[in-house]
Symmetry: C2
DNA sequence: CGAGACGTTGAAGGTCTTCAAAAGCGGTGG
DNA sequence: CCACCGCTTTTGAAGACCTTCAACGTCTCG
């Protein structure tokens, strides 16, 4: 088995100028001076698909942004009931400045590459780099909006609307990352159970709704980890009004 | 009928040093210099119980903190289904810096006094006042945590657990505001319908759960706008593990 | 007092969950 | 290669929980 975690040090790392997420990440606002500080301090990390990046309650020894791959952020109750709060995709930030202990479980869904910092180093950077600080606030406010839109979904949508909302969300984010894509193929790295954690449904209900959407022609070629969406507009309609918009 | 909105200008206003929320509000971190800037720019506003402070989509002409009273923040779908995202209490901030349009409905539940600023003025203050900016980030991160805890509740709790969770939350916040209080009396400014919006339940279910909690002795002296909680620990237990903690 | 808003309670019904069984998929080892 | 195992997915049937619809009770304020 491969190592689940691997850390790479600055010096060996590619320059920020070549970074895929430089226009959407935490560093998007920073000018040359701030970027050079970040460049000097950055550490890369890799996690294998399926490994836990943090458990709720753990001490965090690293904060940073996803460069490639997908992670989920969620919580577990003592009786085992789980809720996923969101999907973390390239550009998203992971970890909370000014707090040493994670409040959430974060799991690598696919293999993941992170670009980040030791928490103390990052806190210092935030203090002396106003553009970084402003971007951090902006991203946090966006996340809060997304969390609230998600709440409306959890509370007030039917199972079918929920699943369609998730598909719309994943499709939007996939399109944003790969703008050249025109085929209606949506990758689904999540299992039915994880989708259920996400939407507050059981895996059986998720499966049944997939079958129903297929029967109604809203999705096609349903496979385990992919599905094609012949008519995204139709899917959006099925998601109900105001599906939670991508950030 | 009284005016629903009333604005008071700086100069006539009490000094920040006397403010009830100075240790928990947006200004809590600021030193003397920053405070004097805030003091010069602040405007008070009053809203009557029941009036809308903003509708989703409205242009915001004011951002600020609640000094007294309670407001709710929520969204409405086109079919009329509503979801409340949170209660805003003294110290909480209302409005989003850097964005002119409100994403949410905000309604005054009781009479409200706000201390705030014109949006452009506040954005300028954020730029030049690092302690204010840092406090803004901290409060936003806290709100994000609260929103996620709320999501777990919406998705994974039964009606009884939901109602108990809300009562625990309101009790905690009431205790925090008035630390001298020892009686187990909880004020409930919300109607059954608003509680339902909050918990994603119908008003009938809320009412039935209140009756059930009374029958089981977990609450007593149930009235329209107040209830007594003889044993808060018991209530907390009924709320299920990990009720969403007050900020 | 009377009107209107808010709250309670009952009965019927729908949606989602729970429990259960079987099929599909992917990897391992004989 | 194929049988076997574990894990995921699908599908069915029964039942729980919450909603919907409806009626009635209660409070408040002009």
């Amino acid at each position: 088995m491969r190592d689940t975690i691997q850390t790479l040090l600055a010096g060996d790392l590619p320059r920020c100028a070549l970074c895929q997420i430089k226009s959407i990440g935490i560093c998007a606002n920073s000018g040359e001076e701030e970027l050079s500080w970040l460049e000097d301090a950055k550490l890369y990390r890799r996690y294998c698909a399926g490994s836990m990046i943090t458990f709720a309650g753990d001490r965090l020894d690293y904060v940073g942004s996803i460069m490639t791959g997908i992670a989920s952020i969620g919580g577990t109750r003592e009786d085992g009931r789980r809720q996923t709060y969101g999907v973390l995709m390239p550009g998203d930030f992971l970890g909370r400045p000014g707090r040493a202990i994670s409040s959430f479980d974060i799991e690598a869904i696919t293999d993941i590459e992170l670009c980040g910092f030791k928490p103390a180093v990052f806190d210092n950077l935030l203090d002396k780099a106003p553009q970084l600080h402003a971007r951090m606030l902006e991203m946090t406010l966006d996340e809060l909006d997304a969390a609230r839109a998600w709440m409306l979904m959890l509370g007030r949508k039917t199972a079918r609307e929920k699943l369609c909302s998730l598909l719309v969300y994943l499709l939007d984010r996939q399109m944003r990352l790969d703008e050249t894509q025109t085929t209606p193929l949506l990758r689904l790295p999540l299992t039915r159970e994880r989708i259920g954690d996400f939407l507050a449904l059981t895996l059986e209900t998720v499966s049944r709704q997939f079958s129903a959407l297929k029967r109604d022609g809203i999705i096609q070629d349903l496979e385990r980890h992919a599905v094609s969406i012949p008519d995204p507009a139709r899917l959006r309609q099925e998601a109900g009004t105001d599906p939670f918009h991508a950030r």
